[in-house]
Each structure stands twice: as C-alpha cells, then as structure tokens.
C-alpha cells in the first residue's frame, strides 16, 4: 500500500540548468534517507524515508506516517514536502519556484511506482499537473528491499484481516 523508495531529492529553482549532484553527494543524502526509513520501521510504518535537498541544505525530511495518521497518503515524500513548504514560507519564497528537478530513489516499486515502474509520471507530459523531472533509480536498491521485506514479514496490525475464501 505504500511506495518503496528511499529518496533524496534536490530542489533548485532554475530547473533547466540545475547542476546534477556528484555521486558522493548523492550517497551522503541517500544514507540520511535510509536513516529516516529505519526510523519508520522502528515506528511500525512501511520503511520509506525521504530527504529534500536544496543548495546543499536539507530543507525537508520525512518518513512514512500512514498508520500513525490513519491517512494512507502520508508517505515520506508528502511529509518532507510539508517541511519544504514551511521552509519556503519562512524565507518568503514561492513554493512554485521549487519544482523538483531530480529524484533519486532506492528500489523500484513494481506495485505502485510512479516513476518508471507502474507509471512514468516523471517524464509524461502533464501540463495541467506539473513539470517533468529527472529520475535516478536503484541507489542501494537491495538494502531498501531488505528493509521492506523486514516490514512485511511482521503483520500490519492496522490492516483489516483478509476474509477467508474457500
């Protein structure tokens, strides 16, 4: 029911000419995203963590809080985005200028993935929805999958018991 990505996103206003981060930078941010995912796991949530990075600064971080809020849309990205909006507000920046140019993620999500797995929203032309963005997939994918497996091995106590069909 949830995405399976550890994400580190980098936000820059001038989308067309943003600088792609170095590998070492990506690794550094992703490791922090993994920490967030672990925190989710420890709190009985699907282990997904997300970081939003702008000019070498973390301006938003989040982990899944679906069970806690009883709201299935409280994914790590949404939580992190709330912090980004706060950040924008404090600096009187228009959040519209922070269209995300790049998304880096851990493992693909064959069930729900919106960036190359089930759909490819990142590159589709959706003029009334938003702008397209670049995706880098597969950072420490195996580790991300391992974490998810750990979660799904334990039962989700909040989900209703499936009806037994004979």
């Amino acid at each position: 029911m949830i995405p399976m990505e550890m994400e580190a996103e980098s936000v820059k206003p001038e989308k067309s000419n943003f600088l792609q981060p170095l590998d070492s930078e990506i690794q550094r941010w992703m490791s922090k995203a993994f920490d967030m995912a672990l925190e989710a796991l420890e709190n009985g949530e699907v282990p997904v963590g997300c970081l939003m990075v702008y000019n070498n600064e973390i301006i938003g971080k989040g982990r899944n809080e679906v069970n806690e809020t009883k709201n299935a849309t409280r994914h790590a990205e949404m939580v992190a985005l709330d912090q980004v909006l706060n950040w924008c507000c404090c600096r009187e920046k228009d959040p519209k200028e922070t269209d995300i140019p790049l998304v880096v993620y851990g493992c693909k999500n064959e069930r729900f993935g919106g960036c190359g797995s089930v759909l490819d929203v990142s590159s589709d032309h959706l003029p009334h929805t938003g702008t397209s963005f670049k995706c880098i997939a597969g950072y420490r994918a195996e580790e991300a999958v391992e974490m998810l497996k750990m979660f799904y091995k334990q039962e989700n106590p909040n989900a209703p018991k499936p009806k037994v069909r004979k």
């Binding site: 029911m1 709201n71 909006l85 759909l119 929203v121 909040n158």
Partner: protein, 328 residues
C-alpha cells in the same frame, strides 16, 4: 429537485473494454457441400490452428441468403501464409499439404475478423458485423453503458451527495480557491463521512479537494494531519449516529476509506487518483472530466493492472452543474 433526468452516470471502462474493434485479415472459403462441414473444420483447425483467436467462430452462416452455399469457414489468417497475388488466390496457396482433401470447399476470399474477444455489448455488436465471435456478457457493464445501472432512487442519492460537493466547491471559490468539491460517503449507512473543497491556493499546493477529503476522513477516525479551521466548509462527520454506524460494521472499525464512495466535481489528477488507490476507496463518481485527469482522460489508474487495489469509476454525475463550476 428533479434534475436527475438531465444527466447520465456512465462507467469509465478500461482501454480493453472501450477500444475500437481491431481487425485481422483472414482467408475464408465457402462450404459448398454442407455434409463435409465437420470434416473440413476439423482438418482446417489442424493445419491452421488459431490459438490466439479462441473467440472467433470458425464457421459462419452466410449473410446473403441468395447464395447457393449456406456456410463459410475461416481457412487461415492472411499473416499465416505467403500469397503473392491476393486476387487469384487458390486453396492450394493456403493449404500446401498434399493430404488435405479440399472437396466441398469453394474458392477462398479475404475477410476481416476481430482480433480480440469483445468485452462489452457495443464491442460485440461491432465485431459481429465482420465475423461472428463468442461473447461472455457482463450484464452489469451492459446496463451501465446504457446508463441504466442505477435506479431513480440511487440517482437521487447521488444527486444529494454531488450537490454537497458542488456547494463545497462554491464555498472554496468564495475564498479564492479552485472551484472543486469532494464528498466521501459511507454507502452502507448512506451518511457523508467528510466534505472538502480545493485548498491548494491556500498555503499548500497539494491540498486538492480529494486530498483534503481523505485527510478529513482520517480526522474522523481519530487521525489526520492538518487543521482545516480556516476552511469552514471542509468538515468531517462527528455525529453520534455516524460513529454508531461505523462501530456497527461487520468487519471491525472503518479502515481508511475502505467501503467508502467518493463524489468529486472534477476528474481527479494522478496524485489524487493514487491517493484513492492507497486509501482503498470503493467507488468514484465525478462530474466533469479534466485535461490531465487520471481516471479516464490521461490515465485509467482505477484499472491499472499492476496496482493492488481497483475500483469502479463513473462520470457525468450532475455534469452541467460540475462543468459550470469550471467555466468561471
């Protein structure tokens, strides 16, 4: 309020269910001697089996009653053989086998046959014009396509819920928001669980009406993330009767939007559509379509095969009232 007659609830079907009939070229031949029919069919199906065309009836009764031969049989797909001259094609071009006894079979000719099994009655009717096919009718889809799936009473209920969504949209618009409204309903108790309007022109760009409505349902279940005090038209049902209805459910307490229906004035975007998948919504009813819409226009998230939750989608509920919201 007797507006029910002016709008139809139409199902938003999958691409497979709504696509045009795709045709394949095939060779057919008249069966001149009727008593040879079963032998010919048997041998032809051995020489040219049509495994991907299980829906095609190998033999058809001749359309034109004046022809001397009453039956025609599919010999093979045009793509199965290499024929240089389509006009003067002979049986021996199609069936190279020496052992085949072609007695009783006439001169072959080209026909177009439906490539896919028809899934809906309109598809079946179109396909049948070309060549007879089998059809396993889903009666519910047929009556939905005719706009006859719901009774007048059910439509009156829909109108009641969509009216609440339209009202919410108008309240939002007065506060400078996009005129979009959403209502989540528990169809079992026929009670509204939450009402919301678009709030994205407020402080949060992702507060589309559907996202707000989902969070309000969560608020009603003791969760939720945001505070909507600024928006008096965004509400969840906190009445005792609703809580009692929830607690009285057979399979335990309500879990996110399981079993709930959504009424929304405009077709949801891809984010909202995915939010509805994650929230396990039961059915979605919308009024107007939208340019990047994800439940019919740009995507059909509700019938995306890889997703683990699917739901029915209907459009056109109070179409005029919903479209009028957009025009301003």
């Amino acid at each position: 309020m007797d507006e029910c007659d002016t709008w139809d609830v139409l199902p938003v079907l999958s691409d497979e269910q709504s696509r045009d009939t795709e045709l394949l070229a095939a060779y057919a031949a008249p069966i001149i001697e009727k008593r040879q029919t079963s032998r010919l069919v048997k041998e032809l199906s051995q020489i040219h089996p049509l495994p991907s065309l299980q829906h095609i009836k190998r033999v058809r009764a001749c359309k034109d009653k004046s022809t001397p031969h009453p039956l025609e049989v599919i010999v093979c797909l045009a793509s199965d053989v290499q024929v240089t001259d389509c006009k003067g094609v002979m049986l021996t071009d199609l069936i190279p086998s020496q052992s085949f006894d072609s007695s009783g079979l006439g001169v072959p000719f080209l026909v177009k046959i439906p490539a896919n099994p028809p899934l809906t009655r309109p598809q079946f009717e179109k396909a049948s014009k070309h060549w007879p096919t089998s059809f396993h009718e889903d009666k519910q889809v047929t009556s939905a396509l005719r706009g006859q799936l719901f009774t007048a009473d059910q439509k009156a209920k829909m109108q009641e819920y969509m009216t609440a969504a339209v009202q919410a949209a108008k309240s939002g618009e007065e506060m400078g928001m996009d005129a979009v409204g959403a209502v989540i309903v528990d169809p079992e108790s026929e009670q509204i669980a939450a009402v919301a309007h678009d709030c994205k022109r407020g402080s949060h760009p992702l507060h589309h009406a559907v996202m707000v409505c989902i969070d309000l349902v969560a608020c009603g279940q003791g969760g939720g993330t945001y505070d909507y005090e600024k928006y008096p038209a965004c509400l969840f049902n906190s009445s005792e009767t609703f809580r009692n209805a929830c607690n009285g459910k057979e399979n335990g307490l309500p879990y996110i939007c399981t079993g709930y229906d959504l009424y929304v004035t405009r077709e949801p975007c891809v984010m909202c559509a995915m939010a509805l998948v994650h929230s396990r919504i039961n059915r979605v009813f919308y009024g107007a379509t939208s340019a990047d819409g994800a439940l019919g226009t740009k995507y059909k998230i509700h019938c995306q095969k890889d997703l683990n939750h699917h739901f029915e989608v209907f459009k056109g509920v109070m179409l005029n009232a919903c479209e009028a919201l957009e025009k301003k």
